[in-house]
Amino acid sequence: MEVSRKMALHPIIFLLLGIGSFILIYAILALSLNLQQGYTGLPNFGLIGFYGIGAYATASIIVQGINPIIGIILGMLIATVFGIAITLPAIRIREIYFAIITIAAAEIIRIIFRNEKAIGGEYPQLGIFNIPLLFGLDYEMHKIISFLLLLLVVVCIYLILQFIIYSMPFGRVLKAIREDEDAVKALGKDPVRYKLIAFTIGAIIASFAGSMWVLTQRGITPDGIMPLWTFMIWIMVLLGGMGNNKGVIMGAILITGIQQIMQELKFYIPTEVLDSNQIISLTWTIIGILIVLVIIFLPRGVLKERKVKGSDIEKTIRNVNRGIKGWIRLLLRN
């Protein structure tokens, strides 16, 4: 009792930690979509399905009383298999059809989770909840640790993706595939292989985001994997800047921030002025206006894709040959 009173957080900080955790989860998803759509040109409209796989795998494993790490890995494995299963036939076709196939796949996943008692328990439409607090901590510590854990995850994923795209020749080919697939073929690279790897990495990251959601928010419902959320992530990527990982994190901060703050406002605005439905509508109006403004004034998003110059390539080469110090510089400079 004594300890928990000492730990008592200021309510505002408590609120901000909650909002921050939401933002960070969406940042992971936005980074995943940015790898697929922003760099490789694979319009994945089923992103939330892969997130759902990770979330449900982790939640059902935890409910069974098994170590959540196994759930996270299981989710990633299923997401990989599922990702390859849809992309292998779909990856050869044109972008628009690829988008349709991915959205259908995500809906199939959602409907299975909504109806399958073996996964969702006695009432699958309600989802899985009552996931225990992280490491058996109390409620407040759980909030703090969740936030820090997510922050660490986002930083790691950001650094890994930046490394793949800006320090590996692999990333350069991904950008080339986005620009012109036939030209890549004529240069002896197999676009299917590259797209498959990029899509799978994205799927694994999305699945991991789902696992982290379950661990930190302690539950998942079928409504949490509606197509709507895929579109939200698309908005973040479009606003922040396609092909810029910093930009899409900013997009996640902006959109999720607006949504969460508007939800909080519900408690402060009298219902005679605005009721909760009107606040939701107002949120969408604000986001809609933002999209229009960005498309008119910043068609490439808030942050543009970084141009890789000759000097950047020279720096990469130099840093790798400088040992550990160079490596740190390489990772940070990306």
């Binding site: 590996m168 020749p169 692999f170 350069r172 080919v173 950008k175 080339a176 986005r178 620009e179 012109d180 036939d182 030209a183 890549v184 073929k185 004529a186 240069l187 002896g188 690279k189 197999d190 676009p191 790897i197 894709e305 141009k307 890789v308 110059k309 000759g310 000097s311 390539i313 020279e314 990469t316 080469i317 790798v320 040959n321």
Partner: protein
Amino acid sequence: MDTLITKKLSKNFGGIKAVNEVSISVKKKTITALIGPNGSGKTTLFNLISGFYEPDNGKVLFLNKDITNLNSHQIANQGLVRTFQIVRIFRNISVIENMLVAPKRDYGDSFIKTIINFKKSIKEEKEAYDYANDLLNLLELSHLKDEYAGNLSGGQLKLLSLGMALMRDPEILLLDEPVAGVNPTLANKIFDILINCRDNFNKTFLIIEHNMDVVLDFSDLIYVMNRGKIIAEGSPKEIFSNRGVIDAYLGVD
């Protein structure tokens, strides 16, 4: 020795015989030109050879190996590289990155191998980077290397796509109108580069070109196509005294 041989290669689009039993052979260390009026099937022939179209009939032999049923990227990996008539480059990345997409890499081409041997892949990158800079110098593009490729002029794009093809160090290069839209001085320079590659690096070229001056000056052998068929072959001198060719291509006086 013949580097590239096609045997009765055919392709129909609906009722049109775009390429009709075309048999050509390209000798090593030569510049072979393919000429003919618009719509005569030259580019279709290129697409058949490079694996972008599947032939209805016939065979393609490259260095005595049958490559008829290989994918386009597999063919490019064997050392047969082609460029496109309407240049296909990567518009929203810089010129130097365009060049560095091209080379064949032992480590960098594989995701896993790059991670395991990152230092070696960086060594490869350095070699590729130096080579790319040399080529850009040769093609007079080095001042544009940090520019977005999409901002280059039409002629510069032609040069860039030639540079990307040369980055792969191919055995044979199929060039679709390499000097269309390039000023005459630079066109001559491009062909000087090709001749240098032929003489000093044993490279072979098959070229579609409408610019008769350069074809006449620089090619070793000419094939003339009309309506999907080869109607003549021979040295530049023979071709330009051939009545049929003049009728089909250069027009009747």
